[in-house]
Subunit: 459 residues, 2 copies
């Protein structure tokens, strides 16, 4: 029996414990955006540290100003490529809580899915690579190449601590290929390898008017209402064609290649199915682009939250002293988040409303990334995915951001493989987040094959 | 010693207990908009019921579907006018709590003011009339005319129970003149009688998009963002001249008279002083009108609160499933709140955003009112105010709404006197609401004179 056959045999026997492991991790409410959850975030780091350490990997728990980093490594294998697996143990806030069928941090398996905050983003997906390494080790096989793990705790809030760490310790993370599972298949049963990700530049913008809330009867009509001023600013962010109106926003955007557009058009993406799935009567977006193009390869602007004034029951008749919005721009490769931050600052500075002062807070950002689809690492990934899913993967780009990826690629000069085991309707960032149990197992199997496939590459 | 001299003598001796009474009432957090405060609202009703009852008035505590009404009456005086004093014992919500120097429901006297939610709006002002009646009674004088009290508990949320009561029991409230103190002097030491009030039509409007929050990376750019759609709707409510854009909104608006404009211009209102007081760099509003005209006599539209999406710390990358706003229109006499509600519904129905459904909730409304400044009741009011304040009152209109006033005027066919003892900077509806202790006492004195002056009117 060759190595991979022995590993596969082990995998067939380990499913129950693999699912139990995932449930354990998901029970820890590691919400990195919530200061009240700091201890839980640390607990989730400790959990994955313990897992990797118990497998015999050389493992470190690295404290940072915010949340710890977990690093681990199998022994070096001379002459073979070095892999760095990146993942994150932090999760999005679970609110609105009342929309969850079962509680966000009490994992529940039903209809073939495991439901919990972090199930797909990213505990479930990150764990596949740890389980596959465990399978090689526990089935008595020698891993055919060195695998490093880097699991961080603030992907959902900007990866600042990791960015700091990378500045000083890139050598420690030296590798030939970075493997990440934090995204999606093209569709159920249609696996994919993603070769492009959008970046992000995320802000809060506030409109400040009177020094305190005013009676809207006494003063209404004589001062600019900050909530209205803010709404006007937001309304001005797009033109009627859905183009973002920041000065210079599209200057660095590389136009889509005809070949890409043709390949994506051939996927026959079903707009009406997506609209139905999301519960909207129509899709909408930048004129002149298809839905896949809008989602995968065009920059955008979204508002994530509106704040200000009275939000309780009934009516309160005030002119609020201030109003704010959480606003982000999704960026495509070649757009620089710092430049977009300047453009947004400039746009807001030029947006005048008498008696209202606008203020922009830069929360976080990261550039997009595009990968060479013809590299040997991609080919190895295609073979590994095909082995586990029985189908060759779609080559796609994706709209989400993993801001730190571009940074890691730049620091390590490594290739990067984005192997998404999730699905678009997994409700990452929404209530009832889920991950198909079958895809968890297939991800583990594809990962186990990946080590074998990558080890064939001549350095 | 004539009656009024005896009353005045009593007033001089009663100041301490009068202030203590007010503090007692202010300690009860009777927030009518907050269902959790229902018991406290009832307690505030009981408090005023007890006061009036202890004075020997015929007093009723009338339960309603929501908050109770308190009715009281002194004995009839044949051949003399009947007065109805209207006030309210409910208060605005106290939030934002952290902006109060001393707690909202722990009255604190400093710098000559009493600070508490309800100090000026309306417990402090309403109580002046009860104290003046008390002074007549306790100084052994016979009240020269019949005074009825109607103190309600939901002025801040639309006076629905009182409106219902008026439909059935207008006869019980029969009177010749309604006296209300729920507004302001023109300025400190410049008393006023107000002969016009704006009305209001108050709504919530919601934009509904996808059936749940979506990951803004995965879906951003391909669906209309409800928070952006809502902002566009709000931005469309005014044109660049500050005109409200509802179809037909200005159709019924009676133009300002030249005489009114001239009288108000002669007040030499100081825009820059007001801007400084409010902490804004500039005032703003409907083109072609002065600040006083905009505040007192022009219809407006304001947004009181923005709701939707993620409002916590840090960044959450969602397209929110929905976003909402609290929106109201201030109305001038002759504008009908029901008509404006239809106009707003129509405006929203015609405002199209692909994949977004808008919904309007009608919260409450009431028409504006204008009073004849030459009636004998006004003249009596002017004399009473002059006696207490040492200065004849400014004849003004005011921007705030007392929605039920127009209804009461219509039901009783009575005249109405709006005698405001408050000040514009009393922070009604804002943190650190206050009422000048001196104006509380002057209000009581003016009220005591008012009963005498009104009793001179030949029916």
């Amino acid at each position: 029996m060759n190595a991979i056959a022995a590993v596969e045999k082990y995998l067939d026997s380990a499913k129950e414990s693999q699912l139990e492991d995932l449930k354990q991790w998901l029970r820890i409410p590691s919400v990195s955006a919530d200061p009240a959850r700091k201890a839980d975030v640390a607990k989730a780091a400790q959990w994955v540290f313990d897992r990797l350490s118990q497998l015999g990997l050389q493992t470190e728990l690295i404290p940072t100003k915010t949340h710890p980093l977990v690093l681990a490594s199998t022994p070096p294998v001379p002459g073979k490529p070095v892999v760095l697996v990146y993942g994150h143990y932090d999760v999005q806030p679970p609110d609105p809580l009342d929309q969850w069928t079962t509680p966000a941090f009490e994992p529940d398996v039903r209809n073939g899915n495991i439901y919990a905050r972090g199930a797909t983003d990213d505990k479930g997906q990150a764990l596949t690579h740890i389980q596959s390494v465990a399978a090689w080790i526990k089935s008595g096989q020698t891993l055919p190449l060195q695998i490093k793990f880097l699991i961080e705790g603030e992907e959902e809030v900007g990866s600042e601590a990791l960015a700091e760490y990378l500045k000083e310790h890139a050598a420690k993370l030296a590798c030939d290929v970075i493997v990440i599972s934090d995204n999606s298949q093209y569709a159920k049963g249609e696996p994919a390898i993603t070769y492009g990700l959008r970046g992000i530049a995320y802000f809060e913008v506030w409109a400040y008017g009177p020094k305190q809330d005013l009676h809207s009867g006494v003063f209404g009509g004589s001062v600019t209402n900050p909530a209205i001023a803010l709404s006007r600013l937001i309304a001005a962010l797009h033109d009627s064609n859905g183009k973002v109106q920041l000065p210079g926003f599209y200057d660095c955007v590389v136009p889509l290649k005809d070949s890409e557009r043709a390949r994506w058009a051939a996927l026959n993406f079903d707009d009406s199915k997506m609209a139905k799935q999301l519960g909207v009567s129509a899709l909408a977006g930048e004129a002149g682009y298809s839905t896949l193009e809008r989602r995968w390869a065009r920059p955008t602007c979204d508002v994530h939250g509106l704040m200000g004034g009275y939000q309780g029951e009934g009516g309160k008749t005030i002119i609020p002293a201030c109003a704010g919005a959480k606003v982000s721009f999704r960026l495509v490769p070649n757009q620089d988040p710092a430049t977009v931050a300047k453009q947004f600052q400039e746009f807001v500075a030029n947006f005048k409303q008498p008696g209202v002062r606008f203020e922009v807070k830069d929360l976080h950002g990261g550039p997009g990334v595009v990968i060479d689809p013809d590299s040997p690492f991609m080919k190895a990934g295609e073979r590994a995915v095909t082995s586990a899913f029985g189908k060759s993967p779609v080559l796609m780009r994706e709209g989400g951001s993993i801001p730190i990826v571009a940074d890691m690629v730049q620091r390590t000069q490594a290739a990067v493989l984005l192997l998404g085991w999730g699905l678009d309707d997994d409700n990452a960032h929404s209530p009832n987040e889920k991950f198909a149990v079958e895809d968890y197992y297939r991800g583990i199997r594809a990962s186990a094959h990946l080590w074998q496939e990558l080890s064939q590459i001549v350095k």
